[in-house]
């Protein structure tokens, strides 16, 4: 029997963005991954910048290179990413420990899923994120 050629139809990274019925949890999922990667990138950058001290280069001191407005704004973006990642992370820990997903039910159309059960938690965490962003933004402006 001859070998049948099959076409690999895996979505890859595109699968993060497409391929499903778009819901709030999927946006949260994508943003959680992007902010996670962003924070990881920041930590690596942070190590590079601070290790320059060994060469006697202080990029953040006084009116140094890192005190330009673009970097001040980038610092706020890092804070925003951290606030979102932390708040959404708490939601994920609670959900993954089986809280806020409800008990199995008889599936009767129109179907209600665990997504409906945990939605209030998602909303609360996003409000909390917004509060943190507002406080952080206010603190950055008056600095």
């Amino acid at each position: 029997m001859s070998q049948i050629n099959r076409y690999d139809n895996r979505l890859g990274i595109w699968g993060w963005l497409g391929g499903g019925r778009w819901g709030a949890e999927r946006y949260a999922y994508i943003l959680h991954r992007i902010t996670g990667l962003g924070i990881l990138f920041y930590f690596l950058l942070h190590i590079v910048v601070t290790s320059l001290r060994a060469k006697g280069i202080y990029l953040w001191a006084g009116h140094g290179f890192l005190h330009q407005p673009i970097f001040e704004f980038a610092e706020y973006v890092v804070f925003a990413a951290f606030a979102y990642h932390a708040c959404n992370g708490i939601r994920l820990v609670l959900v993954e420990l089986g809280f806020a997903v409800g008990k199995p039910i008889e599936p009767v159309y129109p179907y209600k899923t665990s997504l409906n059960v945990q939605r209030p938690l998602l909303v609360c965490m996003m409000i909390l994120t917004a509060v943190f962003l507002a406080i952080g933004g206010y603190a950055a402006l008056i600095e």
Binding site: I4, N5, R6, Y7, D8, N9, R10, L11, G12, I13, W14, G15, W16, G18, G19, G20, R21, G23, E25, R26, A28, Y29, I30, H32, R33, L92, V95, E96, L97, G98, V101, G102, K103, P104, I105, E106, P107, V108, Y109, Y111, T113, S114, L115
Partner: protein, 278 residues
């Protein structure tokens, strides 16, 4: 019936075509299909096959959302072709593609083998410590309605693969077991007749197991039967964590009742009538 129009509308079907013998990659082919109110995507494909292009291949069987054969990617969303009405999802154009995250065998036929392989690996059947009870049952197991409800929802899975196509994690990690096999694992773990949870934990708790799920929730949105794989996976994670920390409450397993004719008759139940044959 009032409110239902019989006038046909022309909808352009953009169907993925792929012939493994002649094509290097899939391509889209368009067909104009006259669509009436209530017509399903499956009926549209049949119209193409009967009138426009007899070479089109897809998989289907029951036509009523039970067999799970006709899972497809309809306008960028996974669903069953037989229970999706064309006019519910399309105004003028409808894209019909095979389920992603699977290899394409031909046209709209995905190779679901990888899913069934993973499904088989989690041992989706009742496991008992005493194998003789399974192979040579001497009686029946009692299960209360509450115990049944703890897994009943997850038994409605028809293995159509829509959840596997919708999962963004599976899109980037082929080794991840995926929502369908893990839901099956939770279905049997929660069954009080089963004693194989720890055996399954060895697979579902690995780095390619349930902890790769990050709750995008797409599996539950895509599921055409309301099985809610996302809920099953979170309950599975909870149980794995409790098992790991030795905090899990001991589940009272089913007691085996007597075999036919050996049980004690309750006083308020009338005796069976005498046999009339033989």
């Amino acid at each position: 019936m009032p409110g239902i129009s019989n006038a046909a509308r022309l909808i352009t079907f953009h169907v993925t075509r792929y012939n493994p013998e002649t094509d290097g990659a899939p391509y889209l082919k368009t067909y104009a299909v006259p669509v009436r109110e209530g017509m399903t995507v499956l009926e549209g494909l049949h119209y193409i096959k009967d009138n426009l292009d007899s070479t089109l291949a897809w998989r289907y069987s029951c036509r009523m959302g039970i067999c799970g054969s006709c899972g497809m990617f309809l306008n960028g969303r996974p669903g069953l072709a037989c229970n999706t009405q064309i006019l519910h999802i399309a105004d003028a154009n409808l894209t019909v593609a095979p389920l992603p995250n699977f290899e394409i065998i031909r046209d709209l036929v995905p190779d679901l083998w990888t899913m069934f392989d993973k499904h088989r690996s989690i041992k989706p059947y009742i496991l008992r410590i005493n194998e003789a009870e399974i192979n040579d049952p001497a009686g029946e197991f009692y299960q209360s309605p509450q115990q049944l409800e703890s897994y009943l929802q997850f038994t409605y899975c028809i293995k159509c693969g829509c959840c596997m196509a919708a999962c963004p994690t599976l899109a980037t990690d082929a080794r991840y077991l995926g929502p369908m096999p893990l839901t099956a694992a939770q279905r049997y773990n929660a069954d009080t007749r089963d004693e194989g949870r720890r055996e399954r934990n060895a697979l579902t708790g690995t780095s390619t197991g349930v902890f790769r799920c990050h709750y995008a929730g797409e599996c539950s949105r895509a599921c055409p039967k309301g099985v809610d794989p996302a809920r099953a996976l979170q309950l599975l994670k909870r149980r794995l964590v409790l098992d790991y920390l030795h905090l899990a409450r001991r589940i009272k397993r089913c007691e085996k009742l007597h075999g036919p004719g050996q049980g004690k008759l309750l006083p308020d139940i009338a005796a069976a009538p005498k046999g009339t044959v033989g």
